[in-house]
């Protein structure tokens, strides 16, 4: 168990180092250097100015040295300065994290609370009208772009309430937060809940066919007891593992949803940084996202070990 944990942590470090190298190189295969782009966009062509920027940003140094500077900075919490705002990157990123975290948490909660029960119902009532309806619902959830669903919800708000729930300033109370984020969370979580529902359904159908379910029935247990005490726990296990994958999936939805609803979170900030070609920001944001995804995957795996006695106690 401990050995496994150490192995996993080491692999995690390797993966993250890999991500850092990949993103570092990716942002430097752009033709011309960042100083050119900055000057182009600012409309300045003063060579002296350019040389100064190049030296200031350390762009004249060899790539491995630049990489080393960034990486050692990462460990000290020194992420460099934004090209655009000229503020330290960390000061730009940190305040945005809680906003995205709340939105993601709310969306994931929504996705699980809707997806798992509906998936179970769909499986238990397999091939009934209800099952077909839920399957088509989940398939449309997977087919709708999250930003379009967001826009549709905005349209509905305009029609029914005459106003648009767009983020203007940070709400003060928890209730206000909830009210502010509920609609965006639903629009981004819909797709995830559709996915979770599909997975739960197929996993549940698989489990309901297994021998131990028949054994449970032969004991005289009621259908409810068989479904919830015996089958559900077994069916949810594989769904847990996908929640890790799901976080990565969710992030794509967060990017567009934060854009639609004008929420100043990390996800939208990545797009802004890319638009502004603020490469130190992009580089660090991508690292941040990778760390979150990898950590969530680790937590999910550990959770799985706790829930499944076959892994916890060795097969």
């Amino acid at each position: 168990m401990l050995a496994y944990l150490i192995r996993r942590l080491l692999l995690m470090v390797v993966t993250l180092l890999g991500v850092s190298i990949a993103i570092f190189l990716l942002l430097r295969i752009v033709p011309g250097n960042i100083a050119d782009i900055l000057l182009d966009s600012a409309g300045m062509i003063d060579p002296a100015e350019k040389a100064k920027i190049v030296t200031d940003l350390g762009l004249d140094l060899p790539l491995p040295v630049q990489y080393w500077h960034w990486l050692s900075g990462l460990f000290h919490g020194d992420l460099g300065y934004s090209y655009v705002s000229e503020k330290p990157v960390i000061e730009e990123i940190l305040p945005r994290i809680p906003i995205t975290a709340r939105l993601a948490g709310l969306a994931l909660t929504f996705a699980i609370c809707a997806g798992v029960p509906l998936g179970v119902i769909s499986a238990v009532r397999q091939n009934t009208k209800l099952d077909y309806f839920l399957r088509i619902l989940s398939l449309s959830g997977l087919s709708m772009p999250a930003f379009w669903l967001g826009l549709l919800i905005l349209m509905a708000c305009v029609k029914w309430f005459g106003s648009i729930p767009i983020y203007d300033r940070a709400p003060a109370t928890f209730g206000a937060w909830l009210a502010m984020l509920a609609i965006p969370a639903a629009s981004v979580g819909f797709r995830s809940s559709a996915l979770i529902m599909r997975l739960t359904r197929s996993s549940m159908l698989e489990v309901l066919r297994q021998d131990f379910v028949r054994t449970a029935k032969s004991k005289g247990l009621s259908d409810t007891a068989v479904t919830y005490d015996h089958a559900l726990r077994n069916a949810v296990l594989p769904v847990i593992t996908t929640i890790g994958v799901e976080t990565a999936f969710l992030f794509g939805g967060l990017i567009v949803t934060e854009t639609v609803f004008n929420i100043p979170g990390v996800a939208r900030f990545l797009v802004e940084a890319i638009r502004w070609r603020d490469y130190p920001m992009v580089q660090n944001l991508v690292m941040f996202i990778a760390i979150v995804v990898v950590t969530v995957n680790l937590i999910v795996d550990l959770l799985y070990m706790v829930v499944d006695p076959r892994i916890r106690l060795g097969a």
């Binding site: 692999l11 397999q126 087919s143 709708m144 772009p145 549709l152 159908l205 990565a248 999936f249």
Partner: protein
């Protein structure tokens, strides 16, 4: 051909999906003939005109016909989806086959790279790649294809590893066939079914990714009409004033993805009996 009737009864949803996809493909191929108006002609007088006899689905800010732009947009959407899926599946299959065969350090290396790529959400990776390469139709296809590679490689790799142990492959090897010939003649054709299932399943997510990239303004650039960009142009401000600019492009995206998902599900049921409900 009598099979068509059988499949229609066995997989009614799959056939419905195939019909939807066929309609979109036909619209894309014959866009020039089908579209009622020219998708690029601007008309200041028709700016933000609502749906009417001339502009069935209304007109955008520059007075261009929304329906015609949607029909031409199918070309972009399908070109990106098919291009990215084909490149992603092709490269992924080659890498997976190589992993299953060469094994050793190559396999380990590819697995590490796969893990690195899976640490990043598809859209984030596509965004960063377009940011690096610059927005163009070709680069959008590449940016979406690259993140597909690891998933395909993984599936094909495990498939190859189990196929290699099967008796008929052993037998082929025993007759003195070279390892590469065995791979091409016996193993590769047998990975085709899972590859097709996977590629179809990914078609929908490539379309969605293209739409998202374009919506964020980092996808296929002008003059190509892209559904995602039509939505970003119209976004929040038109929600109040010109709902047709929001509804129809989104409907087109959802419908084509829905069709490809239906088709993907049916193909999976038909070709991959292990996953059947």
């Amino acid at each position: 051909m009598s099979d068509i009737g059988y499949y229609a009864r066995r997989y009614p949803l799959g056939v419905a999906g195939a019909i939807i996809m066929t309609l979109f493909v036909l619209a894309a191929i014959f866009a020039g003939v089908v579209a009622p108006l020219d998708p690029f002609t601007t008309n200041a007088k028709a700016s933000l005109a609502g749906p009417s006899g001339v502009y069935w689905m209304g007109a955008d800010m520059m007075g261009r016909d929304v329906l015609s732009r949607l029909i031409h947009g199918a070309r972009v959407s399908l070109a990106v989806a098919l291009g990215a899926t084909m490149i992603g599946s092709g490269v992924g299959a080659a890498v997976g086959l190589a992993c299953g065969y060469v094994g050793g350090w190559f396999d380990l290396l590819v697995q590490r790279v796969t893990e690195i790529m899976q640490a990043l959400p598809l859209l984030v990776m596509a965004l960063v790649i377009t940011a690096s390469l610059g927005p163009s139709l070709r680069n959008t296809i590449i940016a979406i294809a690259i993140p597909l590679i690891p998933t395909v490689a993984r599936v094909i790799r495990s498939n190859v590893l189990s196929l290699r142990e099967l008796p008929f492959v052993e037998a082929a090897r025993a007759t003195g066939m070279s390892e590469w010939r065995v791979a091409i003649v016996h193993v590769l054709p047998n990975t085709l079914a899972p590859l097709i299932v996977l590629a179809t399943a990914q078609l929908g997510s490539t379309i969605l990714t293209e739409a998202s990239l374009s919506f964020l303004g980092l996808g296929v650039p002008e003059p190509y009409p892209s559904w995602g960009r039509m939505l970003s142009e119209s976004a929040a401000e038109y929600v109040r004033t010109a709902p047709w600019l929001v509804i129809y492009p989104g409907l087109a995206i959802s419908l084509i993805v829905f069709g490809s998902n239906l088709m993907g599900d049916a193909l999976r049921d038909a070709l991959d009996p292990r996953q059947r409900d």
